[in-house]
């Protein structure tokens, strides 16, 4: 057994987190910043933070992840990191020539209290920021929230350069939240099908799913441009997907630039996608084309075709709040029973929403915000499930408990596909169902006695 020391009996823990279902803020900020065109994310802290985040993102995407660091020494930690950041800004613009540097902080620079805005302004005054180039920043103390918080903070940081000219430009801001490049591509496809003019930020499609062509582009074609971010202040509305990932940025735009916003749950599954399409149609004043109706119908068709295999199957899921809420709703809509749900990210609203969604289930549902995968595993030992859904770290639980395991979330270190194939939208729903069904039926084909082994299912 790989997790042989995990006891079935649950004892309360107040201080020790075991097998976290979250990581720290800066990696979220780095991922978000990669969704800006021509941007080099910069980690203001020890070089280890940057190395770890680059490694994790590289393993997840199998793509180059360029990011720089202030490489703090003990001296910088005592005297402050201003000199390091000023030098870094000069070096980065000289050597790598990005359009944008997006600085995020770390627990180190936050603890010593470096004022990034002041350092950025100083760099600007001393001419270290070339004309026409931008330095964005956000604060991402690792000891608050989680990687999701860091993502949200960087997206909010992007909106701080948005301006309102007083004249609306007819576009809709779509803030997709922490989803894969393939998901962002899919949301853009849906918006394009609906003839909605839009700006998406961040947008990592075209950045983190690039081709192999014999050329290395540190700054690939994709990403939202600074011009688009500036003009986001003139949009007719903002559609923010995910309360944890996207709402802060949308609300900030609303307050600063008077762009009205609507915050939706993420468009995973049928109902989530319905709400996304409906909201986009309403904000932009367009109609939904037949193509989308057809895609929706295909998803409903597949639910109907395979319902018998989903019906009342128990599921354990872990990951990030916005994703888990949408997935829980999707699983419930196909009559699966999500019975153990854990996010490492804190927030009482999460538990409340999951309880609301699962209130009608006839069985007990365990839900925890700020929990860990050790607890999840103990819950599974006490109430076994038919399927486990989450990031690659779940493979240890899946193997020990012999569970079908769907990799979904961040990070996925041992499979590919998430870069290219979306799980949002109706098409994404089809893909999720295909995968879940495949796992359940592979298990059935493995376990059924020879006497009842079936050709047609």
């Amino acid at each position: 057994m790989l997790l042989r020391h995990t006891p079935k009996e649950i004892t309360p823990r107040s201080a020790l987190m075991i097998n976290p279902a979250k990581t720290c803020q800066p990696i979220g900020a780095m991922y978000a910043a990669l969704g800006i065109h021509g941007c080099l994310p910069h980690s203001h802290g020890s070089q280890g933070c940057c190395a770890y985040h680059r490694s994790a993102l590289t393993k997840h995407y199998k793509e180059p992840i360029s990011a720089a660091t202030s490489s703090f020494t003990e001296g910088a930690s005592v005297f402050g990191g201003q000199a390091n950041l000023l030098q870094a800004i000069e070096n980065i613009f000289t050597v790598y020539e990005p359009e944008v540097i997006a600085v995020h902080t770390t627990c180190l620079s936050e603890t010593i209290g470096d004022d990034i805005k002041q350092i950025r302004d100083k760099a600007d005054k001393s001419g270290n920021i070339p004309k026409g180039k931008t330095v964005l920043y956000c604060n991402t103390p690792s000891y608050v929230g989680s990687h999701v918080t860091g993502f949200s903070n960087m997206v909010k940081g992007m909106t701080e350069i948005s301006e309102s000219t007083g004249k609306k430009n007819g576009k809709v801001n779509i803030i997709p939240g922490w989803v894969e490049p393939s998901d962002m591509e899919e949301l853009k496809r849906l918006a394009t099908l609906m003839a909605v003019p839009f700006t998406m930020f961040p947008d990592t499609s075209g950045v983190l799913n690039g081709p192999l062509s014999g050329e290395f582009k540190m700054f690939p074609e994709g990403g939202v441009t600074i011009k688009e971010l500036r003009e986001a202040g003139d949009a007719i509305g903002t559609l923010a997907l995910g309360e944890w990932c996207s709402a802060d940025a949308a609300r900030s735009l609303d307050t600063r630039c008077k762009v009205p916003c609507k915050v939706l749950e993420m468009p995973f599954g049928l109902k989530g996608t319905d709400r996304f399409v409906d909201a986009l149609r309403t904000i932009a004043g367009t109609s939904v084309p037949e193509d989308i109706n057809r895609e929706r119908g295909q998803l409903v068709d597949m639910i109907s075709d395979s319902h018998q295999y989903f019906y009342q199957k128990k599921v354990a899921i872990y990951g990030d709040p916005d994703q888990l809420i949408a997935m829980t709703e999707f699983l419930l809509s196909i009559d699966m029973w999500p019975v153990h749900i854990v996010t490492g990210t804190p927030g009482v609203k999460f538990e409340k929403r999951i309880k609301e969604l699962t209130a009608h289930l006839p069985c007990e549902v365990n839900v925890r915000a700020g929990g860990d995968m050790f607890l999840l595993h103990q819950w599974i030992k006490n109430t076994p499930v038919d399927l486990l859904i989450g990031n690659s770290y779940g493979k240890y639980i899946a193997r020990d408990e012999d569970l079908p395991f769907l990799r979904w979330g961040f990070p996925i270190l041992d499979r590919v596909g998430h870069q290219y194939f979306p799980t949002v939208g109706y098409k994404g729903g089809l893909r999720l169902l295909e995968k879940i069904l495949g796992l359940l039926l592979d298990r059935k084909d493995r376990d059924d006695p020879e006497t009842v082994f079936e050709l047609t299912l």
Binding site: A15, G48, T73, L212
Partner: protein, 544 residues
């Protein structure tokens, strides 16, 4: 195919100039000293700047002190509960991300699949985290009752002044049957992960080595220092040692356990694999317990044979020497058969190696066996002695960054010190050409006019590859895909791209096959579509 065409031949001086050209003057001056055009002098080794601060903003391969301590050195030990005191990230990123394999058997203790953290919150940063740390240690003890609990400091812990060592002492005393010890391995210390190796090894030496009695039994007892069982390297070395009848008391720290460290003082010889991460432990084992040390290398079939013979010569026992020869004779035919098949496809190709503090040197052996030349190399966190040899150690400058890494003073243990060889025996071995405590570094093994570059960064790597276009580039995960986008295969020598083992005889064969696969892969010819290769618009149709 434009992509595989070798461009004009650049001289090493031109390449160096090209790499430095774009830097701001201060950066160029500093980097110039870390880029050495090898002169292959007959009597002296040229000097290179190494183990100095990374330049802010320059995209480095390096990690931090915490990564070196928790990730590299302490990570591979299965039965110690490693609690990371800090915000969640540091523990998360070091969770199963190095490929240290371990064999705990069906029921043995193994915490390597777990990540433990105090998950510090802002209130802990403001009011101090000692209380939470104590509670976390207690909870770990109550749940698992391990032999040892190790505490690792992350950046904020040092800044807010939590006394993790006092907490460790208090809890150790309280438990009575669990050794609790702590590592001040804050990420900002030192200039690279190398400082973390040092901090880790010092604490292992202070808190573990010499505390155990019941060592493994057997003849020809050695310690293997600086072997981390990535991809099962340690398993393959242990297989060979076992065949030879050599007893490996403790590996530092691949596939290791608490008890192995505790009984390391029972060995009669220390064999150092990774000079960078652990040479000082070998010195301390000699000073305190009288165990001599030699440098070995099990990367490469010939290097493995050579290292085994060195161990045989040290013990000087004919039975052992004969058995070692028999093992080599038994293992080599498979190696030769693989080379006979593969070498015609790899011979004459070129490699670049930028990794670690010893790996860049060790792997040159394997490439040489394949007939491949290493044309540029360097370490990520090496020191000058890893490049120029141990003779420069007395001249190494102690700067502000190395001064804050603890050097522990060790003396001969009044009870346990026992010189394994008499002075005469040592002398006669040395006279016969046997070298103790000797490592000549990487530079003497490199040809004239090759480029040796310390702390190579993203920009320089790209320049090197564009200008020289080697057949293979070896580095880590962060570098992998930017190099491969250029159409050059990159072999990861930290994680082995999830393959291995590459140590020992079987490992050598694995490596030959892997390099053959990479340098002769069809994929590099697929990068351009037919219409990109021949973009002419007009066509002639057969029916015209």
């Amino acid at each position: 195919m434009a992509i595989t065409n070798k461009p004009v031949q650049w001289t090493p001086a031109e390449i160096k100039e090209e790499m430095l050209k774009k830097y701001p003057p201060k950066v160029a001056r500093k980097r110039a000293q870390s880029i050495l055009i090898n002169e292959a002098l007959s009597n002296t080794t040229p000097e290179i700047q190494a183990n100095v601060r990374t330049i802010p903003g320059i995209i480095t391969m390096r990690g931090c002190t915490y990564a070196g301590c928790k990730g590299v050195i302490m990570g591979p030990t299965r039965d110690i509960v490693n609690i990371v005191h800090g915000p969640v990230g540091c523990s998360f990123y070091a969770w199963l991300t190095r490929r240290n394999q371990t064999d705990a058997g069906e029921t043995g203790e193994n915490y390597m699949t777990y990540a433990f953290t105090t998950d510090m919150q802002d209130s802990d940063i403001i009011f101090g985290g000692e209380k939470k740390l104590k509670a976390a240690i207690q909870e770990a003890y109550d749940l698992f009752h391990p032999k040892g609990i190790a505490i690792f400091a992350t950046c904020p812990v040092g800044l807010i002044g939590d006394d993790i060592h006092a907490v460790a002492r208090e809890m150790k005393e309280k438990f009575g049957d669990c050794n609790v010890f702590a590592f001040s391995c804050e990420g900002y210390k030192g200039v690279s992960q190398s400082a973390g190796h040092h901090i880790a090894n010092n604490q292992v030496f202070k808190h573990l080595v010499g505390t155990g009695e019941n060592a493994k039994t057997g003849e020809y007892k050695i310690n293997l220092l600086g072997e981390y069982n990535i991809g099962g390297d340690g398993f393959e070395i242990d297989r060979i040692l076992k065949l030879c009848g050599i007893t490996n008391i403790a590996t530092f720290s691949g596939n290791s356990s608490y008890d192995q460290f505790a009984t390391a003082h029972k060995a009669d010889l220390s064999c150092v694999m990774c000079h960078r991460s652990i040479n000082y432990v070998a010195d301390m084992l000699e000073t305190k317990y009288g165990i001599p040390w030699i440098k070995v290398n099990f990367i490469g079939a010939d290097a493995t044979a050579k290292s085994l013979r060195k161990i045989g010569q040290y013990f000087g026992d004919k039975a052992l020497i004969d058995r070692i020869e028999a093992v080599i004779a038994e293992e080599m035919p498979a190696v030769k058969a693989a080379l006979d098949d593969i070498k015609p496809r790899t011979d004459g190709k070129t490699a670049m190696l930028f990794v670690g503090g010893s790996r860049a040197h060790h792997y040159m052996e394997l490439f040489a066996e394949l007939g491949m030349k290493t044309i540029s190399t360097g370490y990520e966190f090496g020191h000058r002695d890893d490049y120029e040899g141990r003779k420069v150690i007395p001249d190494l400058k102690v700067d502000a960054d190395s001064r804050n890494i603890e050097e522990i003073e060790v003396e001969a243990d009044p009870q346990l010190y026992n010189p394994r060889k008499s002075e005469e025996e040592m002398k006669s071995l040395e006279e016969a050409g046997f070298k103790f405590k000797e490592y000549e570094g990487l530079i003497p093994d490199m040809d004239k006019d090759t480029l040796i570059i310390d702390d190579l960064n993203q920009y320089e790597a790209e320049k090197l590859v564009e200008m020289i276009r080697p057949d293979i580039f070896c580095a880590g995960i962060k570098e992998k895909y930017s190099i491969q986008k250029l159409g050059i295969p990159l072999k990861q020598l930290h994680s082995y791209d999830y393959g291995g083992p590459y140590a020992g005889f079987k490992g050598a064969v694995n490596f030959y096959k892997e390099i053959d696969r990479l340098v002769n892969s069809k994929v590099w010819a697929f990068m351009k579509a037919p219409w990109q290769e021949n973009p002419e618009l007009s066509a002639t149709y057969v029916w015209e």
